[in-house]
């Protein structure tokens, strides 16, 4: 790890190079890509939450001028394989278009292809589908009961996965506790809901035997899975990563969209474009997020020292599980939060219901788990009458205990939790915040202060696949960087990912500039496609600064090694006697003797007679890096090293509640955050604010709700309430830095920052306000005005 003081570009204020194209409207999103002759897809969707499809009549649609084809699920299934799932579920088939049975309202049943999107939609309305409705199951706990309707009849049960873990001396730790507080919390169904829906354009070149794909994608192994489902070799699918993705935060994994468009492009010998409209996205995109019921038991001594935690969770995956059940395993790597808890029990159950499928969402299950843990911590504080800050301080892993191994076997890399909490308290001026709270109370409001102290695991590996299904033995999740110094000495860095607002071009240029001692502004960053590029898992799991950072370091080291060998050879000294200094090769004993960057480049590209033996011409290197600390499988006792790095955040929020309406207003919002060494301060604070706003939405506004028949009640953005400037207060953030010992410059993950703690903090604030008025806490998110109002009035009625 490089000392921070020596850094010239990392952590320094610097322009974000992506921004200029966005402010001028010159981003290039998938909807902007329309090859000549493009055909457009409209979708026929199921109006029933569960129904047998008994007939599809496409005659009227096909008769419409401009309609080219209508594809049913049965036809598609004959020539494609089901979409990849990560559990062994041989009788659960996930396909782009339903076959025989539709399992949720909004599921795609047929696709209409036409010369324009408008005509495709007209055609979709003319497709007549006969359904025979089947019983529905919507509540995940009801789905577990004997006799419940089954979503996948062949599977025989609605349980998709059930895993039980116990780490440490649970019985002993519970027995020595003076108390155990049990809480039940509900994290209702929401998602990240990017402003850009999912879209894909596919174009099959018959003569080259190549499928070109442009997609708003953020998904590991998308090209491989696309090829596999289409039954064509992987080297015939070329996914282009130079597409700007209009937000994702985990969910842009449109594999079913990709397979459908790819199949149609191959069949119709024309480019095919599928851009979801908002209703298709919300109801049938298979993009919903975790939908969980937690039962937590937290044991503690009379002094408020935690001794053991038990978490039972039921997660509603919707109709098709895909990768989503793996989100139950990721939190195992931070199952005790930032607290010193010597033992833990974790029971995780994945259930299927008649709702659209769940997919990876920002944090991969960590934010709901953090909310559950923090709810239990606050409940213990209420039980003991202990200050919520004090109980946290008393249980924090101490700064001198790192690396700290938690009961589930994961080591936390580094941290200074008390210092970060202190920073938040100072930033908020807690006494002033308390005065403001009291003013609000004096003005007739309910008011409360919320606190949450949460971890963000970063540097995502894929070991959760192995945890949930031992047959999955994937132990690496690599990233790669290619460096090229051209004949004029200009540097190009190539990566094989698409980005959804994470400013990766800026990050790569900054890190590479630092490695090479060259101004990042002179580095060009390019995106390879999936065939010309290198192995990559995409920017998930707060991993790019960490894992791509490692690839950049290693590639830069290889490049510098080559420069050193050329330099030493021409300076007539052993390689051991020269140093690399900002591009030049310098004799250590005599810094006047040096070969300059331009001279070395010229030799490497054009002067074989000056090259040392064994050095390749040109200056091009590729490095593929493992995730730090990965490589092992889950141990037989269920212990495992999950992610390598742990960022930490403390939220402090003042909530004000109108007792007459139950409407919550966030009056003040403060946050202290530690992601180790910050690469770009503007980018990191943006992540922190944005994740916090997303978490505020989860806490107060956002829910995909269904009626008893499984019809989505959240029909549009008039119902699914994304927070606006009116809801999000100015958020103040103070950064702390505890470098990670496992990364190149001490950086940790930040892509899920803010979202890790905001839902818990807002809930804490609302419940603090309610508790001060003798109202029982609301233990379910979102805390809608009706929920808060009902809680207040239940108490009022009870007292009257």
């Amino acid at each position: 790890m490089t000392e921070r003081a020596a850094l010239r570009w990392v952590s320094r204020p610097g322009a974000v190079r992506e921004d200029r194209r966005f402010v001028t409207g010159h981003g290039r999103y998938v909807a902007d890509i329309t090859p000549p002759g493009t055909l457009h897809v409209g979708l026929v969707t199921s109006p029933h939450a569960h129904a047998r499809i008994t007939g599809i009549d496409a005659e009227a649609a096909l008769a419409l001028d401009g309609v080219v084809a209508v594809l049913t699920g049965e036809e598609l299934a004959k020539e494609t394989d089901p979409l990849r799932q990560y559990l062994d579920l041989p009788d659960v088939h996930w396909r782009p278009l339903a076959v025989d049975v539709a399992r949720y309202a909004g599921e795609w049943v047929a696709a209409v292809v036409a010369t324009s999107r408008a005509v495709a939609e007209d055609g979709a309305e003319l497709v007549s589908v006969d359904y025979d409705p089947l019983p529905v199951v919507l509540d995940p706990e009801a789905a577990l009961r004997p006799g419940a309707p089954t979503v996948h009849t062949g599977h025989g049960t609605n349980v998709l996965a059930h895993r039980e873990f116990s780490w440490g001396d649970v019985a002993g730790d519970v027995a020595r506790a003076d108390g155990t507080t049990q809480v039940r919390v509900r994290w209702n169904r929401n998602s990240t809901v990017p402003i850009e829906t999912f879209g894909v354009v596919a174009d099959w070149d018959e003569h080259r035997q190549l499928l070109d794909v442009w997609a708003s994608i953020q998904m590991p192994q998308f090209p491989d899975q696309l090829a596999s489902a289409l039954r064509i070799p992987g080297n015939q699918v070329r996914v282009h990563f130079d597409v700007d993705v209009g937000g994702s935060y985990g969910v842009k994994r449109g594999i079913k969209h990709g397979v459908l468009a790819g199949y149609l492009a191959r069949q119709l010998h024309a480019p095919v474009k599928l851009i979801e409209d908002r209703a298709e996205n919300m109801h049938g995109g298979d993009f919903h997020g975790p939908d969980r019921i937690f039962d937590i038991a937290l044991s503690y001594t009379a002094d408020g020292v935690f001794t053991s935690i038990r978490i039972d969770v039921v997660d509603d995956e919707g109709a098709y599980p895909g990768r989503s059940p793996l989100q139950l395993a990721k939190p195992i790597g931070a199952i005790v939060g930032p607290y010193r808890v010597p033992s833990a029990v974790y029971h995780a159950t994945a259930v299927t219901t008649n709702k659209t499928g769940q997919v990876a969402v920002r944090g991969f299950g960590q934010a709901p788990t953090n909310y559950a843990i923090e709810s239990a911590v606050d409940a213990v504080a209420r039980e003991l009458g202990m200050d919520r800050f004090e109980i946290r301080r008393r249980n924090f892993v101490a700064p001198d205990e790192f690396p700290y191994r938690i009961p589930s076997g994961t080591e936390y890399d580094s941290g200074d939790y008390p210092a970060v909490l202190d920073k938040a308290v100072t930033l908020a001026d807690l006494p002033a915040l308390e005065r403001r709270r009291d003013e609000l109370r004096g003005a007739g409001k309910l008011a409360g202060i919320g606190v949450a102290t949460c971890l963000e695991p970063g540097g995502g590996n894929a070991i959760f696949e192995n945890i949930m299904n031992p047959a999955n033995d994937k132990t690496t999740f690599p990233e790669a960087c290619r460096l090229r110094v051209d004949g004029s000495g200009a540097v190009v860095a190539v990566v094989s990912i698409s980005s959804a607002g994470q400013s990766h071009d800026t990050m790569v240029a900054t890190l590479l500039g630092e490695e090479l001692g060259r101004d990042p502004a002179t580095v060009t960053v390019l995106r390879a496609d999936s065939l010309s590029g290198m192995p990559s898992q995409s920017p998930v799991g707060s991993r790019m600064t960490i894992v791509l950072g490692e690839a950049i370091r290693a590639a830069a080291t290889d490049l510098k090694d080559r420069l050193l060998r050329v330099g030493a050879h021409n300076l007539g000294v052993p390689v051991a006697d020269v140093d690399y200094v900002d591009g030049d090769v310098v004799v250590r004993a005599d810094s006047e003797r040096r070969l300059r960057w331009g001279e070395i480049v010229a030799i490497a590209h054009r002067k074989q007679h000056l090259m040392p033996d064994g050095v390749e011409p040109g200056l091009e290197v590729v490095h593929v890096a493992h995730t730090p600390r990965s490589g092992g499988l889950t141990a037989p006792d269920g212990t495992v090293q999950l992610y390598p790095c742990f960022s930490f955040e403390t939220h402090l929020v003042l909530a004000s509640i109108d007792p007459d309406t139950g409407v919550v207003d966030l009056d003040r919002y403060y946050l202290a955050h530690d992601c180790g060494t910050v690469v770009n301060p503007e980018v990191v604070r943006g992540m922190v604010y944005g994740g916090t706003a997303h978490g505020i939405g989860v806490a107060l506004y956002e829910q995909f709700a269904y009626d008893d028949a499984g019809q989505p009640l959240t029909q549009s953005f008039m119902d699914y309430l994304l927070p606006s400037t009116h809801e999000i207060p100015d958020i103040a953030d103070d950064e702390h830095c505890t470098p990670s010992p496992f990364t190149t410059f001490g950086q940790k993950g930040a892509g899920e920052a803010g979202y890790m703690g905001a839902p818990a903090a807002v809930a804490s604030a609302v419940n603090d306000a309610l508790a001060a008025s003798g109202v029982a806490p609301v233990m379910s998110l979102p805390m809608k005005p009706s929920d808060v109002w009902a809680a207040i009035n239940r108490t009022t009625e009870g007292n009257s």
């Binding site: 322009a15 974000v16 992506e18 921004d19 200029r20 194209r21 966005f22 402010v23 001028t24 409207g25 010159h26 981003g27 999103y29 909807a31 902007d32 329309t34 408008a118 990240t192 809901v193 990017p194 402003i195 850009e196 829906t197 700007d244 993705v245 209009g246 937000g247 994702s248 935060y249 409209d277 908002r278 959804a500 607002g501 994470q502 400013s503 503007e682 980018v683 604070r685 943006g686 992540m687 604010y689 944005g690 994740g691 916090t692 706003a693 997303h694 549009s716 953005f717 008039m718 994304l722 606006s724 400037t725 009116h726 999000i728 100015d730 958020i731 803010g754």
Partner: protein, 167 residues
């Protein structure tokens, strides 16, 4: 399909025309007929504000305005906020300076809504900023840096005005 209309309008200072179906939205007309893809579609039902353009200087949602309704009007899209290849507008500069975006998808609408605000209210207070941008949803930023950008642009405009006054 309905009727077809000949639409003539001024877009970013240029006279543009085209044939369009009666049901075609202004957003689709701008994107598909005129190739101005800087206008983005987020919800297509008038809530998210990503498709905001200026119609005779006022922000409108081009997804729920028909192209035919814009006939004879003046439209400014994000492509017309600053000259191609030329200097950015103070609002665009401020958005870059504060990194008031991430994925960029809502940015076109945000910049145009901010331009419209500062054109009518050069010195907005915080409540006026929140009101002016309240119909534009950003999922990435939490609005903090967007508010900063508007304040920076407003302050800079104010500085310029002072210079003019002194001259």
């Amino acid at each position: 399909m309905g009727t077809r209309h000949r639409v003539q309008l001024t877009v970013n200072g240029e006279r543009r025309s085209g044939d369009t179906a009666g049901r075609t939205s202004l957003a689709d007309f701008l994107r598909d007929t005129l190739g101005l893809t800087g206008t983005h579609l987020g919800c297509e039902h008038g809530v998210c504000g990503a498709c905001t353009v200026l119609l005779d200087g006022s922000p409108v949602r081009s997804c729920i305005l028909l192209a035919a309704q814009a006939d004879g009007h003046d439209v400014r899209t994000i492509e017309g906020v600053s000259p191609p290849g030329g200097p950015l507008s103070p609002v665009q500069e401020a958005f870059c300076e504060t990194h008031a975006m991430q994925c960029g998808f809502c940015t076109s609408g945000m910049v145009l809504a901010s331009e419209a605000l500062l054109a009518t209210t050069p010195h907005p207070d915080d409540a006026e900023i929140d009101e002016a941008l309240g119909g534009n949803i950003c999922r990435c930023t939490g609005y903090v840096q967007i508010r900063e950008a508007v304040r920076v642009a407003a302050a800079r405009t104010a500085d310029d005005e002072r210079v003019v006054v002194r001259d």
